[in-house]
Amino acid sequence: MTMTVIWTGMIVISVLCGLATGRGPAVAAAAVEGTSAAVQLALSIAGMLCLWTGVMEVMRQSGLAGKLSRLLTPILRRLFPQAARDSSTMDSIAANVSANLLGLGSAATPLGLEAARRLSRSSPGVASDSLCMLVVCNTASIQLIPTTVASVRAAEGCAAPFDILPAVWLASVLSVGVGILACKIFARVWRD
């Protein structure tokens, strides 16, 4: 429903603003241009995207995500102190975070939802501190190799589409760090 409001709003604003600024014909042309641009974009990134989901599937079957989970558990205990003693909850949180790191998006969501279900048992209907932390960790991007955006750069003729990796890591670390810090601060000062 939210997307209905946003999409309809975008279309209505475009038409009204286009008419007001005398750019009606440009808006009409853009409506046609946008559709083919969308299909072209999808086709141009299809090859690299498929290769990467293939590699991700190999990685998933090799059990690398499980190894990473075990490495991450001690750090995650500090982020989720209320859940630290419940080992099955910690397992699903660790599995969710490692799937996100490795870019296994389709595997990360069900694991994250399982963790969220366990975390919400103690306070039904209200987001606990741990649940807020889990959700914020999932709204920040921690994917180590951003394959989709690299596919787009490659499709635009970039010779080294992954040369942005250090910048992506820097920005991701800062963004996740601030998200975690914000959760910790809000947890102390938030009044319902």
């Binding site: 286009g18 999808a42 807020c132 914000a182």
Partner: protein
């Protein structure tokens, strides 16, 4: 250093293949099955991509985005964010497909190796579709009181945008 990041991808793929083969994974059929699921994902997002890219293209052609960028550019300039990236920052938390469309357009217009193109790419790579994720998680477990999850997630997004522009300046001068 450049060579390292260029070779990182083939090395990663090679290392994963060798490691998986030693774990007795049928590497090739896993690769093919995974690639097939990538194609499924792609066909699933094409309809959304068509709907949202059309809306974004129309919005841009109408001049509405320029008006908004004009109003906000003094603030954005002070934060070190080019106003060309405003549409990307506006749609990023709402829709992954729309953000991909807007980002790809920026990368194509300004070039993948331009400062703007790189910043757009880093923004796409270091942030997520915040509102969608929050809706999925809280919807699935029936949370109605979201407390501070939204403001905390938006703090992370804003930091991601600022840090992307800064990181590109640091890494590419």
């Amino acid at each position: 250093m450049d060579l390292f990041f260029t070779m990182l991808v083939p090395l990663t793929i090679g290392a994963i293949a060798v490691y998986a083969a030693f774990q007795r994974v049928d590497v090739y059929s896993a690769l093919v099955r995974g690639a097939g699921s990538g194609l499924e994902t792609l066909t699933r997002i094409i309809p959304a991509l068509v709907g949202l890219m059309t809306a974004v293209y129309m919005l841009r052609a109408s001049g509405a985005l320029e008006l908004l960028a004009g109003v906000l550019s003094p603030v954005l300039d002070r934060l070190g964010l080019p106003s060309e990236l405003l549409p990307l920052m506006l749609v990023r938390p709402i829709s992954g497909s729309a953000a991909l469309g807007v980002g790809a357009e920026l990368i194509s217009t300004h070039g993948p190796d331009s400062q703007l193109g790189r910043t757009a790419a880093v923004m796409l790579g270091s942030t997520e579709t915040t509102f969608y994720t929050i809706a999925v998680y809280f919807g699935a477990v029936g949370i109605t009181k979201t407390r501070y999850a939204v403001p905390a997630a938006l703090c992370a997004d804003l930091t991601g945008f600022l840090a992307s522009a800064w990181a590109v300046r640091v890494c590419f001068g």
